[in-house]
């Protein structure tokens, strides 16, 4: 599903994002990307989203070299993946229902498809009763669940989550993780960048540990502090 081949990212100010990273993520996997601040987690996510370009090397997503994707085709590439951020990034002037429906309108889904899919996905994330609420009327967990619903409503094969539990209390964080696991069980590949030791330790999934932009560990199991 995802291949990083000698992927290197050096920013204009000389800061190293990734250094010669080689790794493969298979379809249907649940992968944690861990590491301290500045380790390269965010660079990895930004590169996957094609928010920034590699300095050298290649990244293949669904067998396509993403460095070759032209700017005008970028939206179509991004539709391959759902994205969840630490700060939720919901459209504040839209209700929960509209935020989720918006992702479907972008892909020109019919009103009937929207009417059918949005309630289903809101039910999945447990927000059916909050469909008409605006983001500022929701708790952090509810906002993140809305973001999750938006990320999966078009059934993308890949979900990229950047510190999705970073702003949440432990109980709510676990609710989100349970949801992510459910989504993964449905076949969606999940790449999640996180700091949360307890979650990584408890989930016992594949962990890719980065330090100074380099891969220092790639194994099943828990978090390694040295990373």
């Amino acid at each position: 599903m995802i291949d990083f081949v000698n992927a290197t990212k050096v920013y204009e100010n000389g800061e190293k994002g990734l250094l010669n990273l080689n790794l493969s993520i298979e379809r249907g996997e649940f992968v944690f990307v861990v590491g301290s601040s500045g380790s390269g987690k965010t660079s990895l996510v930004r590169l996957l989203l094609k928010e920034t370009e590699l300095t050298s090397g290649r990244i293949y997503v669904d067998e396509q070299d993403i460095s070759r994707i032209k700017r005008r085709h970028l939206p179509y590439y991004r539709r391959l993946m759902g994205v969840v951020f630490q700060d939720f990034r919901l459209l504040k002037n839209k209700t929960v229902y509209e935020n989720v429906a918006f992702a479907m309108k972008i892909v020109e889904a019919t009103p009937r498809e929207i009417r059918r899919a949005v309630p289903q996905v809101l039910n999945l994330v447990g927000l059916s009763k909050k469909a008409k609420s605006y983001p500022n009327q929701l708790s952090g967990g509810e906002q993140q669940r809305t973001a999750l619903a938006r990320a999966i409503v078009n059934r993308p094969p890949l979900l990229v989550a950047d510190e999705p539990t970073g702003n949440l209390d432990p109980d709510t964080a676990w609710e989100i993780m349970t949801l992510l696991e459910d989504i993964n069980d449905l076949g969606t590949t999940i790449v999640m960048a996180t700091h949360a030791h307890d979650i990584v330790d408890a989930m016992q999934k594949r962990v890719i540990a980065l330090s100074n932009g380099q891969l220092v560990r790639d194994a099943e199991g828990g978090y390694i502090d040295e990373a």
Partner: protein, 297 residues
Amino acid sequence: MKPRTIRHYVKEAFRSLIVNRLMSFASILTVASCIFIVSLFYLLAANIEFFLSQLEDNLSIMVFIDEDLPAAEMTPLHQRIVSLPQVRSTEFIHRDDALEDLIISMPGGVAGFDSLRYSNPLRHSFIIELRDLRYHDEVKNALAEMPEIANIGDFSEAAEIMTTVRDIVRVTSLILILILAMISIVLIMNTIRITVSTRQVEIGIMKYVGATDWFIRWPFVIEGLLIGFFGGVIPAVLCRFGYERVVEAIAGIPWLNFIEFMPGEDIFMYVIPLAVGLGSIIGLIGSFASVRRYLKV
């Protein structure tokens, strides 16, 4: 583009106008103020032009025909004058009619001038109206070459002054309107840019969710168009109704009532489309250009 997508764009544009009503209102007000000033200036310039053209109509060349010219040659002469491209119209005045007019206009009336009717000293004449005052000298020279014409009633100096005044008014008003329009465009574009920049985060989110640039841009462009349109309608309406009031008020002032104003329907045939069109186009271009810089996410 599917109809439901167009509906989505229009709905989003209206929704955004309402949700961001304070900013929308400020933008509309800015557009309206700028276009109001441009429209006012246009009204002023058009009326000065109109007033001058009224004065121009009273300036015409008068030529007096040689008294020895046989009557049969009068028509060919008339045709030669009319065929000059700079001439708009001519009016033939028979020497007897000219005399009657002269006698009537005399302070003492008919008495004392009656004898003139038996030996009319006046000549036949033509009143020649020009297409434009600037042709005065050309026409005068052409007429001077016609031997049948005995004398040319000249108003070179007046024509020159009028032409100069009119040219100054035209050039000045054009330059001022252009400057005002440019200032308006910059002001309006900045206002719309602020409107768009407040929604930078929103645009970024749309990009991450996979929206194409045009999917994001259309509602903003329509919103900008609506801001510009409403911003154009307000000064158009204000000017339309205000104009009549001002004209009536000036007509009521005794020392100013000699001024003739352009009829409302004539001038607003241009001002309304100008105001609304200018507003809409500026709104459209302003929003298009403003969204562009936030799309590079």
